[in-house]
């Protein structure tokens, strides 16, 4: 009995001690990689070849990557497996919804466990660099990444964050520009032409809502898709000369936010009327993005403000449920003074891909990035595995067909197709190369009529300090004005007054100085 008791006590003590050790080990900081230093953890090898697409007889290197998007790929899909095989890596991909991306990175940074490769931009990138979370990869890039050099070129060193070394591999692709995509089959049913100005746009949206454009005898359609994002009215704002969601320069040289454009109130009155008259998405304040798209796909909405890449290319024809599928065109809407277009996009100097200073094999990571930025790599990330998931019909013309089970777009996405394509995407990436003719023309048209705006590449202290509060206030003002029944000016004055007092005025001064310095004035 005494022996049993002794054994019991010994066992219990052992459990307690093990628990304590385990708990303390869990709480302690990971020692791998050590403190971030901002320097590569390994010196580049002088003898390794620059080629990365050929599998080599070395042990595969494990690379962790964080990406975001609204797809649901399988965790270990065949595209990632193939990418790993071609780059001699084992890819540990963390794929999070776009809305959680920033918070995920913040929490990972706080626990010093950022993945080897992740994308970052603006203030966040600067904070990460200052915190020593980003590895400097200049030597490795110039030695092992000719595709990156070829695609990004001199911009790589122009980016303010890269002033003392390469910490950020800038996005090589130029962002698409929004435009109005309008159903021409509905216009034909109604005997109407594409609208050309704000009055005719109102008439078309009215007819789409109340004149049964699909001819089913039901009151089940509306004119224009919308949610709480002002971008959904980019063309209308553009007709008033306003580059929505971008910074502007006023006549006196002050740089400020887009809502302080002299014609903002006029534009809001027009949009407010569309809402009051029921011509836009009735659930705009609460509708999730995919549900909003669904209204277009299911023949409920007649127009959407989006890059035409979606409506006329990527969603065509598989997303649409009507037979025959809808047809679209891109009306140019001119305002009272002839203004038109939507905000242009510039080659980014502030966003891109970074390598964590905790990365154990930066050389392999840079080679991996170089492969992704190749034509072959980007084709794999966009279309999947050639011969298994797709085959080229005419590669020069960008025509391909999906094969077997991958003809189903959901299966294709679950297997990794169309999901990771923007990972170190080259400038002339596969999506662009495979556009249909209408989309090519639409993309070119949107760029041709796009509106220039103020683009400040340097981080501003006032944004770092008050950015969240200022942005929240502008969001609230915009939706309140959109939904308002009464006087818009009083709402505007109230919010702008508060915006200025919580840091807006201070930001305007700093932004104006930064812009003048950037422009060399």
């Amino acid at each position: 009995m005494r022996k049993m008791r002794k054994n019991f006590i010994s066992g219990l003590s052992l459990i307690v001690i093990l628990s304590l050790i385990f708990a303390l080990a869990s709480c302690s900081k990971p020692t791998e990689g050590g403190q971030p230093t901002g320097k590569p953890t390994e010196a580049p090898s002088e003898t390794d070849p620059a080629e990365t697409s050929e599998p080599v007889n070395e042990e595969p290197v494990e690379l962790s990557i964080l990406m975001s998007g609204d797809n649901t790929p399988s965790e270990d899909n065949i595209v990632l497996q193939e990418l790993g095989r071609r780059t001699n890596t084992i890819i540990k991909m963390t794929y999070v919804p776009g809305a959680d991306h920033a918070t995920k990175k913040s929490t990972l940074a706080a626990s010093n466990s950022l993945p080897d490769i992740f994308n970052t931009s603006g203030d966040e990138a600067i904070e990460f660099k200052e915190g020593g979370f980003l590895a400097e990869v200049g030597d490795l890039i110039y030695k092992y990444a000719p595709n990156i050099i070829a695609n990004i070129g001199e911009n790589l060193e122009k980016a303010p964050i890269n002033s003392d070394g390469i910490y950020l591999v800038l996005d090589a692709r130029l962002g698409y520009i929004r435009q109005l995509n309008m159903r021409t089959d509905w216009l034909a049913n109604l005997g109407m032409e594409l609208p050309t100005d704000l009055d005719s746009l109102y008439k078309v949206l009215y007819a789409f809502t109340y004149n049964d454009p699909d001819g089913d005898g039901q009151d089940d359609t509306f004119g224009l898709c919308a949610n709480t994002n002002p971008n959904m009215f980019a063309t209308i704002f553009g007709a008033y000369g306003i580059p929505v969601n971008c910074n502007i320069e006023l006549e006196d040289g002050t740089v400020t936010i887009w809502v302080k454009h002299p014609k903002f109130l006029e534009a809001m009155e027009y949009i407010n009327k569309l809402n009051k008259d029921g011509l836009i998405e009735p659930d705009w304040a609460t509708i999730p993005t995919m549900d909003m798209f669904g209204k277009l796909w299911n023949g409920v909405a007649g127009a959407i403000e989006w890059e035409c890449v979606g409506p006329t290319n990527n969603w065509m024809p598989s997303r649409y449920t009507e037979d025959p599928v809808p047809t679209f065109d891109f009306p140019i809407i001119k305002g009272p003074d002839g203004s038109h277009g939507t905000p242009t996009t510039y080659m980014s100097l502030t966003s891109g891909w970074a390598f964590s200073s905790n990365c154990k094999n930066l050389e392999a990571a840079v080679k991996f990035a170089n492969y992704c930025m190749s034509e072959e790599g980007n084709e794999l990330l966009y279309l999947g595995i050639e011969g298994t998931m797709y085959r080229w019909i005419d590669k020069e013309a960008g025509q391909y067909e999906l094969l077997g089970e991958y003809k189903d777009s959901a299966t294709h996405r679950a297997s990794g197709g169309w999901v990771y394509w923007y990972l170190f995407a080259p400038t002339h990436h596969t999506e662009i190369r495979t556009f249909n003719k209408q989309t090519q023309e639409g993309v070119a048209l949107a760029r041709k009529i796009s509106i220039p705006h103020v683009y400040i590449a340097t981080p501003l202290q006032t944004r770092l300090e008050y950015g969240a509060d200022m942005d929240q206030l502008i969001n609230e003002m915009y939706v309140e004005m959109l939904a308002a029944d009464g006087d818009l000016k009083s709402i505007y004055d109230r919010y702008i007054g508060e915006w200025e007092s919580i840091g807006g005025t201070e930001w305007e001064i700093e932004a104006t100085k930064a812009w003048k310095a950037q422009e060399g004035n």
Binding site: I9, L12, S13, I15, V16, S19, L20, A23, L24, C27, P36, A102, T103, S106, T107, A109, A110, E124, E127, F128, E130, G131, G132, F133, F222, T228, G278, E281, P282, D283, A285, T286, G467, A468, D469, Q472, L473, N475, E476, Y478, V479, E480, A483, E498, S501, I502
Partner: protein, 320 residues
């Protein structure tokens, strides 16, 4: 004189220590058994409290928790100078008070009603039905609310149209005037059932003789409920009130984060959602921690005040 004192002071601890060691030798098994729990609390609850110090430091993601520079109360000054925080604090107080006033009595009333159901099968069915919503996440609940209130495809719109209504249906999810009610009602719907468990357990422990005695004295069902059931629940109600008051500064992050939108943010933004934006989206960890510490301090003060009042009114109900 000094020598005598020295002997006494040296002698007392020795006796105390001897007594303690004797006691420990006798009861060491019990203490050994409690050790894992104590270690758990110390390691996972008390040691992390050191992190609170970043409320008084200029902490950045790059800094170490131990060497970030001290800044005194600067983070609190910064926090209270932000109008968005003051708005969140005000909303937080009002939403918490509404939830307390309307939400706290609801499980009590529900328990009393369930207790009056005589058919045991019906009673179990009702009990299970009211508890079920607690297991539904706020995201799903928002989905349900959207399906009910959507002005374009919601159930209410369908019903109104069926009854001949042709006009627009107001969206209660996007109106400042109605949104606080939406918060409180959905909170009650979700949590009231779970709240009844404790009360029903307490009711089941009430001596049945009390009811018989009351009935003999001529008390009806209503009087029995008031003078026996409710009176016997008094201590339970007060203890649960302590817990609820202690949580007053936490107005329901999950709920508000899931169901709010920019149109109602001015009435729905609470400290937790503000801290989320500031801390996790903008990485202002020090200011976010200051806000969290402020919440906790107010919560503790409220518990102490409630306890003090309870001790004055009914000493047996106080927890300290």
């Amino acid at each position: 004189m000094q020598t005598v004192r020295k002997e006494n002071t040296l002698g007392r601890p020795a006796a105390w220590l001897k007594e303690f060691l004797q006691y420990m030798r006798k009861e060491y098994m019990l203490y050994l058994m409690i050790l894992p729990g104590v270690l758990y609390i110390v390691i996972f609850k008390y040691l992390p409290m050191y992190g609170i110090t970043i409320a008084f430091r200029d902490y950045k993601v790059s800094s170490s928790l131990f060497n970030a520079p001290w800044v005194g109360f600067d983070n609190f000054v910064n926090l209270f100078s932000r109008s968005a925080f003051i708005r969140a604090l005000t909303n937080n107080i009002f939403i918490s008070i509404y939830k307390l006033i309307f939400g706290f009595p609801f499980p009590i009333i529900l328990s009393l009603l369930i207790n009056e159901v005589r058919n045991s099968k019906v009673k179990k069915f009702v009990q299970t039905s009211v508890i079920l919503p607690d297991f539904v996440s706020w995201i799903v609940i928002y989905g349900l609310m959207y399906a009910i209130f959507s002005p374009s495809s919601g159930a209410i719109k369908g019903l109104a149209e069926m009854l001949g209504h042709k006009g627009k249906i107001p969206n209660v999810l996007t109106q400042k005037e109605t949104f606080k009610s939406v918060i409180v009602i959905s909170h009650i719907w979700k949590s009231a059932g779970m709240g009844t468990i404790v009360y029903l357990a307490a009711i089941s422990g009430i001596d049945q003789d009390l009811y018989e005695a009351a009935a003999i004295d001529g008390a009806g069902r209503w009087q029995q409920m008031w003078h026996v059931t409710l009176a016997s629940l008094r201590s339970t109600i007060i203890v649960l009130l302590f817990f609820r008051v202690g949580q007053m500064m936490y107005a329901g992050f999950d709920q508000i984060f899931a169901i709010s939108n920019d149109l109602v943010m001015s009435t729905a933004d609470i400290i937790d959602t503000y801290v989320y934006r500031l801390g996790l989206e903008q990485r202002k960890f020090s200011i976010a921690t200051a806000a969290g510490l402020f919440q906790s301090a107010i919560g503790m003060a409220l518990v102490l005040i409630t306890n003090y009042i309870a001790r004055k009114v009914d000493p047996d109900s106080a927890i300290m």
